[in-house]
Symmetry: C2
Subunit: 132 residues, 2 copies
């Protein structure tokens, strides 16, 4: 069960923007878009982003320095993320594949390290771009 998080004002403004966006958004593009709502400084954006990532409402696409709303409606898996990224149009979507998730969550290697978190990014060409 997902814990209910009451978003603060800035967190809500920024989450709503990302959630409505078609694709991943970058921090300074977010900043630009929320300036009319009174959020004026990068730090205000980054603080909200940090919190939203922490509670799993959004994810960071590490290879793109961009943020996307969680697409697993009740995402308790903010610590286990898999994305599909088109290298041509930069479309990103979150993959939810329970077999893959299980496989990765249970993965362990000879180092004796137990992993509490992972992030996987797949790259390729999406259908549209492939056929061009």
């Amino acid at each position: 069960m997902q814990k209910e998080h009451n978003l603060s004002k800035n967190q809500k403004i920024i989450f709503d923007l990302i959630d409505k966006s078609r694709g991943p958004m970058k921090a300074y593009s977010i900043l630009f878009n929320v300036q009319k709502k009174g959020i004026k400084a990068p730090l205000q954006v980054y603080r909200a982003l940090d919190k939203l990532v922490e509670i799993g409402k959004i994810h960071k696409i590490e290879s793109r320095n961009a943020f996307i709303a969680c697409q697993n409606s009740s995402c308790q898996v903010s610590k286990a993320t898999v994305f599909s990224i088109c290298e041509s149009c930069e479309n990103v979507s979150e993959i939810s594949n329970s077999k893959l998730s299980k496989y990765l969550s249970n993965f362990s290697d000879s180092s004796g390290m137990k992993y509490s978190k992972y992030n996987l990014e797949f790259f390729g060409l999406c259908k549209k771009c492939k056929s061009k």
Copy 2:
């Protein structure tokens, strides 16, 4: 079989530095370290890094903006990388697990997208840090 790449002067200087380093190195730390060898500007570093990544001699740790020498001695798999990252001491190592690699290389989902590349980063605490 890996294609033989003759590294250029700057590429060699930078690869040697990363290869000798204990852990991942960041671009500006690399720059600082090679200034005595005549590499003065960030762009010189980034250009060498780009090339070294492209040919698989090094990998970028996306979540850390840092670079590490490929640890699979004859790495033809620069397009299929898996890392283990300790969130406490920031130690990073490359995981080579053929079962996992196969599983990920063959992964496909309902989108019809064929993936040509992936990067997976596992996070946790290493043995040392766990016992502190």
